[in-house]
């Protein structure tokens, strides 16, 4: 019974909707723009807390950045232009999903390269095993085989 309760508690915590930091006063009156602002916010890193999005963070700087996103949207920027505006000031680090470019391709490629390497290793290993010699046995080998296969005489 206790185990069930614990399990339920853990599940409840796992699937709990995480609290958002967006304050009512920050929201835009236009629900479409607000939805776009929320979407953009989930791609932007809070530079103070670093592993949270500005949508999740309570840091004052994240608050300022959320307002900036809404200010740019209200001024008529597209989603891409808003992100570019912030990247121009904070660098690519502010994006939670780094773009594919000269200094990040290793990051993007590495997992696939390691997987390919592992598969190649596995393939080589399997080939090595699946290729036994197909030459016929020599007389000596045949004799040895007969001897090994013959039923053993019981010892007294």
């Amino acid at each position: 019974m206790n185990a069930v309760k614990t399990l339920l508690a853990v599940l409840a915590m796992t699937f709990a909707a995480h609290a958002l930091a967006v304050e009512p006063g920050e929201m835009l009156p236009d629900p479409v723009l607000e939805q776009r602002a929320r979407e953009i916010s989930t791609h932007l890193r809070c530079v103070v807390c670093q592993n949270q999005t500005i949508d999740d963070s309570d840091a004052p700087l994240a608050h300022d950045m959320r307002l900036l996103v809404r200010e740019r949207l209200t001024a008529g920027d597209t989603d891409g232009e808003v992100l570019d505006y912030i990247v121009a000031r904070y660098g690519n680090f502010v994006l939670l999903r780094p773009p594919f470019q000269a200094n990040t391709w290793v990051l993007w490629i590495a997992p696939f390269a390691v997987l390919a390497l592992a598969l190649a290793g596995l393939l080589m290993q399997m080939r090595g095993r699946a290729a036994p010699s197909s030459a016929p046995l020599t007389e000596e080998e045949r004799a040895l085989l007969q001897q090994r296969l013959a039923p053993k005489k019981e010892r007294v």
């Binding site: 530079v47 103070v48 670093q50 004052p60 700087l61 300022d64 950045m65 900036l68 990247v87 121009a88 000031r89 904070y90 660098g91 690519n92 680090f93 390691v114 390497l117």
Partner: protein, 178 residues
């Protein structure tokens, strides 16, 4: 030769371990600035001091200067403040201030208490200029050249060691530029 292939995993492991070990020595709060060699954005800040013109982009033209982002609520700023006051009183470099995310009254009270090293100072109460400067926390100090371009960003307090080791050489190099 074929045997060597078995050392590849170990070599990869060693490479990853070495890279991770190097990573341990990095301070994750120090981010590269996207604004190095970019011109300072246009701004015009309201004054902090009474009977004062405030601080705007045009004040940066003609001389090498430090632009220091500070606030009275920021602990490390209080650590660096005596160093800034000393540098200003010895006339080693021009220092301008951006008073970040507090009211001009709070900024004034802080300057009255801790000293005022700033030639020009403006209030960035809503933090809008700090966003344009890519500020991630206080204190941060930008070294701006004669033409108003950002050439270096110091994250964290300027201690006497930081001044002599990293900031002073850059300032004197920029001052020798035409």
């Amino acid at each position: 030769m074929r045997r060597l292939i078995w050392f590849i995993p170990f070599a990869i492991f060693a490479a990853i371990a070495y890279a991770s070990w190097l990573g341990l020595g990095r301070d994750p709060s120090v981010l590269p600035s996207a604004l190095i060699d970019q011109p300072m954005p246009a701004f015009a800040l309201q004054p902090v001091r009474e009977r004062d013109p405030g601080f705007s982009r045009t004040d940066l033209e003609g001389q090498v200067a430090l632009v220091n982002v500070f606030a009275s609520w920021c602990g490390p700023c209080r650590v660096e403040h005596p160093t800034l006051v000393a540098l200003a009183s010895q006339q080693r470099v021009t220092i301008h201030g951006i008073n970040w995310k507090e009211t001009p009254e709070q900024g004034r009270a802080y300057l009255a208490e801790a000293g005022d090293p700033y030639t020009r100072i403006g209030s960035d109460e809503n933090g809008r200029l700090a966003l344009d400067l890519g500020v991630t926390g206080a204190p941060e100090t930008f070294i701006v050249d004669r033409t108003g371009r950002i050439r270096y960003k110091q994250v964290g307090p300027i201690t006497p060691e930081v001044w002599t080791q990293s900031i002073a050489p850059i300032v004197s190099r920029l001052e020798s530029e035409p």
